[in-house]
């Protein structure tokens, strides 16, 4: 129990900010963060320290966010977010949506939310959390080449969306 208290203390900020970035929300974060640490607690007896706790926690976070999205998708009677179809449900935000964001950071966050969850996760882990390709590959259980490909594609999508936003913003913001 003491171990868990220490783990919560040292990792809670990371868990909250990663969840906030992946979900794009502030509401419900506490419940999801609690679920993350409960899953860590349940897994602790089997945790052999072969992976760093932080790497393990990132995997838990991704699973919790995945489950939350699945739950919401089921509520809306649509498909799983792991599928390629997810991108069809969440196309790039149109210029009119992006223009509603008057600031670059807001528009960037909106664009990020419209990416597939996997791409958003890779971008978040790479840039915000400064994890290596190897770590990301371990966390997402993907080959390193796939991680690099998704990262590149996601960046290109963001660049396109933000290019459109700056062009529109130049005249209308």
């Amino acid at each position: 129990m003491e171990d868990l208290a220490d783990l919560i203390e040292s990792h809670q900020a990371m868990v909250f900010r990663t969840l906030a970035r992946l979900t794009g929300e502030r509401e419900g974060l506490e419940d999801m963060a609690q679920e993350v640490f409960l899953r860590l607690f349940r897994a602790l007896p089997h945790f052999r320290g072969k992976a760093k706790v932080s790497t393990f926690l990132y995997r838990v976070i991704v699973n919790v966010v995945n489950d939350e999205w699945r739950r919401r998708q089921l509520t809306r009677r649509t498909v799983s977010i792991d599928d390629e179809e997810h991108r069809l449900l969440h196309p790039s935000p149109g210029p009119e949506i992006l223009l509603a964001q008057s600031q670059f950071q807001e528009a960037l966050n909106t664009s990020l939310e419209h990416l597939a969850l996997r791409d958003r996760t890779i971008l978040t882990l790479h840039y915000q959390e400064e994890r290596s390709y190897e770590d990301i590959a371990t966390i997402l259980k993907l080959p390193m080449g796939t991680v690099k490909t998704h990262l590149h594609r996601a960046r290109e999508r963001l660049k396109t969306a933000m290019g459109e936003w700056t062009s529109q913003c130049k005249t209308k913001c």
Partner: protein, 139 residues
């Protein structure tokens, strides 16, 4: 603010303030023409963590919830221990040949190679599933 043409160096020096919400029309103008600075701006935006505060009571809330889960874990351990003892007893009876005395019909049935092979196969699959659950950390 009057629009002016910025160099990339000047543009990049303004990105931090711009991402923090300051109005910089000359920088926006520059970003529409310079893909490199736009990419740099995106990178810096991605690196900025969202501002989110951990509630003060969060740690205690989780620990309180964990307290309610412990009995369930203990129960699971007893079930596991019981299963191991049961299997050990079964193997011991088989090994010493006492199984014929305890359950003669079962001994006859298990004496058939096909049945023995099927039982061994099922047990192997179950053991592998259990090992997978124990050894692979899948939260």
């Amino acid at each position: 603010m009057q629009n002016q043409v910025l160099s990339c160096r000047e543009a990049l020096s303004q990105v931090d303030a711009y991402l923090a919400g300051e109005y910089r029309p000359s920088l926006v103008e520059h970003l529409t023409m310079c893909g490199t600075c736009l990419e740099a701006c995106i990178t810096m935006g991605l690196k900025r963590p969202p501002s989110v505060r951990v509630p003060n009571h969060f740690r205690n809330r989780v620990l309180a919830q964990v307290g309610t889960e412990e009995p369930e874990a203990r129960e699971y351990r007893w079930v596991l221990l019981g299963a191991i003892l049961f299997m050990t007893l079964g193997v011991a009876l088989w090994w010493t040949g006492e199984i014929s005395a305890v359950a003669p019909s079962l001994a006859g049935l298990l004496g058939r190679p096909l049945v023995l092979l099927a039982v061994a196969g099922i047990e192997t699959v179950l053991a592998l599933l259990w090992l997978r659950q124990v050894l692979i950390d899948e939260p």
